[in-house]
Symmetry: D2
Subunit: 292 residues, 4 copies
Amino acid sequence: MNIAFIGLGNMGSAMARNLVKAGHTLTVYNRSRARADEFKALGARVASTPGEAADGVEVAITMLADDHALESVVFGKGNLLDSLPPNAIHVSMSTISVALSRRLTAAHAERKQHYVSAPVFGRPEAAVAAKLFIVAAGPAAQIEHCRPLFDAMGQKTFVAGDDASGANLMKLAGNFLITAVIEGLAESFALVRKAGLDANLFHEILTNSLFNAPIYKTYGALINSQKFEPAGFKLPLGLKDNRLLLAAAEENAVAMPMASLIRDRFLAALGQGMGELDWSAISKLSAKDAGL
Amino acid sequence: MNIAFIGLGNMGSAMARNLVKAGHTLTVYNRSRARADEFKALGARVASTPGEAADGVEVAITMLADDHALESVVFGKGNLLDSLPPNAIHVSMSTISVALSRRLTAAHAERKQHYVSAPVFGRPEAAVAAKLFIVAAGPAAQIEHCRPLFDAMGQKTFVAGDDASGANLMKLAGNFLITAVIEGLAESFALVRKAGLDANLFHEILTNSLFNAPIYKTYGALINSQKFEPAGFKLPLGLKDNRLLLAAAEENAVAMPMASLIRDRFLAALGQGMGELDWSAISKLSAKDAGL
Amino acid sequence: MNIAFIGLGNMGSAMARNLVKAGHTLTVYNRSRARADEFKALGARVASTPGEAADGVEVAITMLADDHALESVVFGKGNLLDSLPPNAIHVSMSTISVALSRRLTAAHAERKQHYVSAPVFGRPEAAVAAKLFIVAAGPAAQIEHCRPLFDAMGQKTFVAGDDASGANLMKLAGNFLITAVIEGLAESFALVRKAGLDANLFHEILTNSLFNAPIYKTYGALINSQKFEPAGFKLPLGLKDNRLLLAAAEENAVAMPMASLIRDRFLAALGQGMGELDWSAISKLSAKDAGL
Amino acid sequence: MNIAFIGLGNMGSAMARNLVKAGHTLTVYNRSRARADEFKALGARVASTPGEAADGVEVAITMLADDHALESVVFGKGNLLDSLPPNAIHVSMSTISVALSRRLTAAHAERKQHYVSAPVFGRPEAAVAAKLFIVAAGPAAQIEHCRPLFDAMGQKTFVAGDDASGANLMKLAGNFLITAVIEGLAESFALVRKAGLDANLFHEILTNSLFNAPIYKTYGALINSQKFEPAGFKLPLGLKDNRLLLAAAEENAVAMPMASLIRDRFLAALGQGMGELDWSAISKLSAKDAGL
């Protein structure tokens, strides 16, 4: 397929590479050009604006850091919206707000373009290994059309209905559940360690019994090893996702006290200067509070 | 082996049956005799006191509701402590406090008896199916001696060191992590539902991606089906375990805000009359607060 | 003085009346005209737009519900900004965000106008009685110039420095402290009542000893009488102020767990349909959770 | 009156001195004798046991650190219970658990003695100045009988009904409200300071407007001055009172999330080594989390 890929950060560049490997024709765009130029060697075309990238493609994929970056790509100078052909599909894979997803649905509909939200679960390693989990929502036919692309980037794609913004809400809720795991492990490891017991053994027991899910393995190991740099997913991005979740919760008048607790952990971690660390570094707060 | 089994509730009776099936000779004791008499048909002897049950055995297993029940069995009238033979092993499989575990270690040592803590993870269904996870701590030789018994009751046994009370702390910390899963699912399902999305689909996505652990399957299904009766594990028992965890946390000067949040959920659920429901019924609070 | 007064809700109309009583010449503007027309009988002129009201005045006072309403008055169609004379003062007495306050400072400076933030503490009764507490920040000379106006509306004016947005932050922090009082009283009254004791007596003890401040008297009485309608200050406005506080806290990377707890109380109250009640109705949640 | 005074810590010694000043005859007892011997110069008799002190008196006042200390005085070796004359009154002024208060009511009734709970609000300075607030509950006649004693020690006495333990619950609830003030001030001062504003000015505004109560003056000044030593009321005692409150809340199935938040603050402060500081030092946590 003829594809525009916009946003070549840790996640995006790995995903784009997998699309190239699968035989697709890519035009890439990245705000800092150097990252994009690396794709020339792979046979990709490099565009100077999002609009130039989206010109004439079947599918334009965006993978950006936040709402602001995506808004700038879609609505800003040299934008995607004005040059994406009618009937082409914008697949937004970033973790963005429910509100922006709704706005994109409307904006693309006005121009007879299609909009699919397809946020992903998985850290950079999973993106490299094409092991992402993809949650896609939007018009069914277009999701099916994109399935080969999803298959090239992920290990499984879930279809979450025809309301595109629903996929974004589920992604945010899923990220919240990851933070709940991090905080739960952080508190219990702090207790286990302070009581003089072996937190690695405790982690092993958990992940070989009721908690034998990747998420407990990954984050338990990170917390016990205290290795938060280089960050797989930076703390301020975790705070951003939490903020978008709480915004959706507020819009729906849903109280989420556990999500609020996580918010305060992120803020305390930032306040204490952990902005460059992996989001699992909020676990350091439990350890510090315990005097460890 | 010649075994005393004391405490034939939902969990205990299933575990005792599996020991009989494995060919061991059981003397059982239960506070309400009817439950014990059911074991006659299986060839077990029924004792009138814990002490009578423990008399002459190699191993005495206790599986009781709380500290109070176990104290009464071990130290009360007609007690186990005074009649368990020297060199015999008391295997305490109940979820009890760290403090009581220490007290039992000392009391048995004084009488040249052995004490092993071996609390279990798993709901009654798992006990029936001999699929429990067992966390054993105490003297290594005695744990090994009991391994055939553990194998008859569980799918896996972890050895958590020679400090018996360490197993109890880990069990409490593990139960805390289960409640964190319940609360996390409860909050996110409330949001997903209030936003008009399909919580079953969301649950399916979670358990087929990063959260594919038994705990998310079991509790997500319970919460979505709103089927909290009959209770697999009653809410007041959940509160009890939380209380023991917080007591251990206080003893170690460890702040556990997520565990505190769970405590308040249990209390609110009790205050609202949910004392007969499964502990996962704390999820009803998130739904009610959202107006669902 | 020749004054424009914009925003004649419960608070604003009482404040404007006190300015008239003090002998000032008012031009009033209100979105729904009826409220403004009541001021004709008092000798005030009624304007059709904020801009018309601000034309030629020395001071323009705004007292509006939220950021959005104030933005529309200052920057929207028929706006204040374009017609307020150079050297005139915009005194913003609404509870607004720190960010909007900064934006107003800049916008007025560009037009050689002055901007003073002067949010108030006090419920509608206090506004009627000219008993408000006013926290003014901005250029010292202009605050002094407005002092006769403040004196006509309040019982005391505090000068909070020359950064106008500082007054807004302090106002938000003060409102947070009020919500902390409400929640503290709510929880303790629920306990006292559930224990079979007299919450009125408890309230009397508090307010005649360490807690003899107006805030404890007012809110303790409201909570004990369960009279949340008509609302002195509606719950959604309380949530709004909490949101602005948390936004300022996030901007400064300050964790405020007690403010987060209050946020979830407001959301749960809204989710349960209390949107028309006084913000102190969050106390109903403690009572309900206790089964009262 | 002929009085036994047991417990001569910071609070108790000041109270006992005021009783001497008012002309009463005291026999004092203190665990560490040196403190008691200081009272010889004032004309008091010094007893070697609580029982010796209580022998033959009309009223025995106890002012001890916690449940444990009071239990030891009342039920231990050389105890008060066995030697207090029939019809004499035990006035317990310590902050103790609701449960112990009930036990004391029963124990004294059995011996035809009277029991009055009369916990106090006020820091050591207030005790010295006879400015305590006293909350007395128990039999009305005996409270009246003791009124001259209360008047000698405090500025006001509230009668909280005839269930002695009710006074203890109210005292615990009152202390909880103090901690809510501390935490509220701590969070808002951290925000104000981090935003570059003057926290002393903010404090002045609060205490000269809606929050003009002693409690805001005292604790706001402590927090802003960061002077937590010497401790007027040590942090572990604050944690103890919080524990007793939460125990009463649990007994009554009342969720108190704000009290839980305070609990975690105390534990984090202890974990970080602040055990010797005043309980208002939990405010350091908000400041630290903010990076101040």
